[in-house]
Symmetry: C2
Subunit: 120 residues, 2 copies
DNA sequence: AGAAAATATGCCGATATGGGAATATGTCAA
DNA sequence: TTGACATATTCCCATATCGGCATATTTTCT
């Protein structure tokens, strides 16, 4: 079996850096496709394809008006990813304090050693 | 060009659900491969392959002891994903309050209507 | 009607994937 | 040394990917 389709969930859709760029750009306000093309300097078909993927997983929504399509990011769809990563917050916090403590212990020890050296 | 390799960054590595399961399992404490196999009910080669990917992107670390390999998740490597998603927190918060406000306005209106109906 | 503008879709090729099964590698113990 | 145990690697296959390019679709304007 190949890798899961990019349209299977937010995790897969968001793995592509260009798609993250698009979501960032569309977060503050809706934009027509042309604006994305101009801003990200990507070929228009490429942008349309990425938007299709994002649309399929619900990461963006469209509002069509005349010949333009205004896309906006649906932040809600990013929540699952955020929540999954949040589980690990406590762990990297703990790891950081451990590292910090160790560093402090070591600097204590080395200053003690230095002191001892100075003393001897 | 095909999709970026799963080993290119945490975003890609974490797109695979089994790998997320492994990271969850290994977060509280290090475990030998056999424990993962038993817990997740996956074929051993499959687990080893997933661990290889996770190792390549720094999402896990190993400690070898005899014929066993103890893996633990390196929560730090999940931080980039967490931070990227955090940017959107304000947006889904805003969207939620908007939805809430609209719901309140609508329930106000309907209760008023009801009241009016009762009155008339 | 016909052309231009904005966006979407189709086809191609190169490539990496994850699963399955078999096998390799490394380590301990009798 | 030989065998059992724990883990890693290899090979094969079916499939979805992204990029590039060409083209289709829809809408608006003259």
């Amino acid at each position: 079996m190949p890798r899961a389709p990019t349209t299977s969930d937010s995790f897969n859709a968001v793995a592509e850096p260009r798609r993250r760029d698009i979501l960032n750009f569309l977060a503050p306000a809706e934009r027509p496709v042309g604006d994305i093309v101009e801003r990200l300097r990507l070929p228009q078909p490429s942008v349309s394809k990425h938007l299709r993927v994002l649309l399929d997983v619900g990461l963006v929504e469209v509002r069509r008006e005349g010949r333009q399509a205004f896309y906006r990011t649906n932040a809600e769809a990013i929540k699952p990813v955020h929540e999954w990563t949040s589980q690990f917050e406590r762990y990297w916090r703990r790891q950081l304090t451990r590292v910090k403590e160790r560093a402090e212990r070591e600097s204590d020890r080395s200053s003690t050693t230095t002191t001892q050296r100075r003393q001897s």
